[in-house]
Amino acid sequence: MKLTGLRYILPEPFISLRRNVGMTVAAVMTVILTLYLCGIFALLVSNINRNAEVMEAAVEIKVFIEDGINQEQMDHLSAQVRSLDGVASIKFVSRAEGLEQMSSKFGNSEEILAAIDTNPLPNSYTLKAASPELVTSIAEQVEKLPNVLAVRYGQGSIEKMFIFMNWIRTLGIGLMVLLGFSAIILISMNIRLSVEARKEEIQVMKYVGASNSFIIWPFILEGMLLGLLGGGLACILVLLSYNAVLNLILNSLNFLTFVSLGEIAFLLTSGMLLIGLLLGAVGSAIAVRKHVNV
């Protein structure tokens, strides 16, 4: 297409959106509503994910060491543990430090220290796994090493937590896909309806001798504009809602971790604009092609 053609095509979507106000408003509202729901749900899923990550990252493996082993044996054990696949960090905790940590966990350390004559705790290592799924296998391997008294990582409950977290994640992603799919259908249907309402106009364009690209492109650009407009407005609404919710619950639910607005803003904005743009373009293209190729 020549530059003159482009010059005629580019202003068309703006004129058309202005003149078909009713259709424009209906289509933009649909885009806003569906993408708003998608955006809110995406935030929900990413927050659940974030909390799952935090909880999983907090899982530690405690390796208690037998008493009476010498420094060389200790170093050897440390090297063996370090060489296991998936061990991210290892930290030596002496019996005294262990008692300190335990007593501070249970409140007034003075009282507890006074209640016991001797320190019952052995020396230990605190391990962190590179990824939460490796915790159990690391623990099993460590347990078999010599001079290891016991390994504790919350056996039983940790596995249940991981299963629960995975379940929540899968559910979240599943619902996300479902919602995304309904958004695609709803938005493209709506845009197709607005094209459908103008099928006579398309016929007339054909009779006058307009080429397919001369007919199709203004509609595609119009769809993209609708999608972009709806996506942009939905994004603003999502960010405003999220900000309001964060302000409201950040103090009262301080045991949970929330994804900050700054972290998510760019991804969310670009994602929603892109989805709006694509849905608008594809919806229009499909609808208008149907009438062009008659």
């Binding site: 003159t4 106009e201 016929q203 364009m205 054909k206 009779y207 006058v208 001798g209 307009a210 397919n212």
Partner: protein, 225 residues
């Protein structure tokens, strides 16, 4: 210029619209197609700008078959054919100026030429004062003038009209017929489907009469409907 040879057209459910149509129209001729509703006039017009395709037979325009054309060639055919419909078929969301200008824009005329040509044709058709109006703000006669302006703005060699006066009062019809005559005098071939007795019975032009899809008469001069 226009040749049809043994053309048959049947619509869905077996409705025979045209049966063995063979005709020739010379360059610059003015031809009326007449007949009752359902006689096949509109189908014949539609075949000439490829809104529908025949089941069999051949159609030639300027020596070239129009049966097997690709998209690009169809577009070219339509750009050389001005079509006027009974129901005007204007783009409702475009102003009079934009409706007429559209025919030039699709041909990618430079904007300067569009800006000059459209007011000229609107002036000639006496609707220059309606340039910024939308079709719904115009009378039937005015809308048909806009449709006519759109059809002739790029001086197509062929003008097809399907009952162009069907929705107009007698005076407005006469004015419109005058416009067709003007463009025919300037060299355009005009083929007009009509069952307007007032027009056809008094004419001294060629009249092709159709009945149930067949040509039953092809005469110079009026044909009593």
């Amino acid at each position: 210029m226009i040749d049809m040879a043994n053309v048959f057209k049947t619509y869905d459910r077996g409705n025979l619209a045209l049966k063995d149509i063979t005709l020739h129209v010379d360059n610059g001729e003015f031809v009326y197609l007449t007949g009752q509703s359902g006689a096949g006039k509109s189908t014949l017009i539609k075949l000439l700008f490829r809104e529908v395709l025949p089941d069999s037979g051949q159609i030639f325009i300027a020596g070239r078959s129009i049966i097997r054309l690709n998209n690009r060639e169809t577009v070219k055919l339509r750009r050389n054919t001005g079509v006027v419909f009974q129901d005007f078929r204007l783009m409702e969301n475009k102003t009079v100026f934009e409706n007429v200008a559209f025919a030039l824009k699709v041909l990618e005329y430079p904007w300067n030429e569009v800006k000059e040509s459209v007011p000229k044709v609107l002036e000639r058709l006496k609707i220059a004062d309606k340039a910024t109006a939308f079709p719904r703000q115009l009378s039937g006669g005015e809308q048909q003038r806009v449709a006519f302006a759109r059809a002739v703005i790029n001086n197509p060699p062929i003008i097809l009209a399907d009952e162009p006066t069907g929705n107009l009062d007698p005076d407005t019809s006469d004015e419109l017929m005058g416009l067709f005559q003007e463009f025919n005098n300037e060299g355009a071939t005009v083929i007009m489907a009509t069952h307007d007795k007032r027009i056809v019975n008094d004419t001294h032009k060629r009249v092709i009469a159709l009945r149930k899809g067949e040509i039953i008469g092809d005469h110079i001069g009026g044909w009593l409907l």
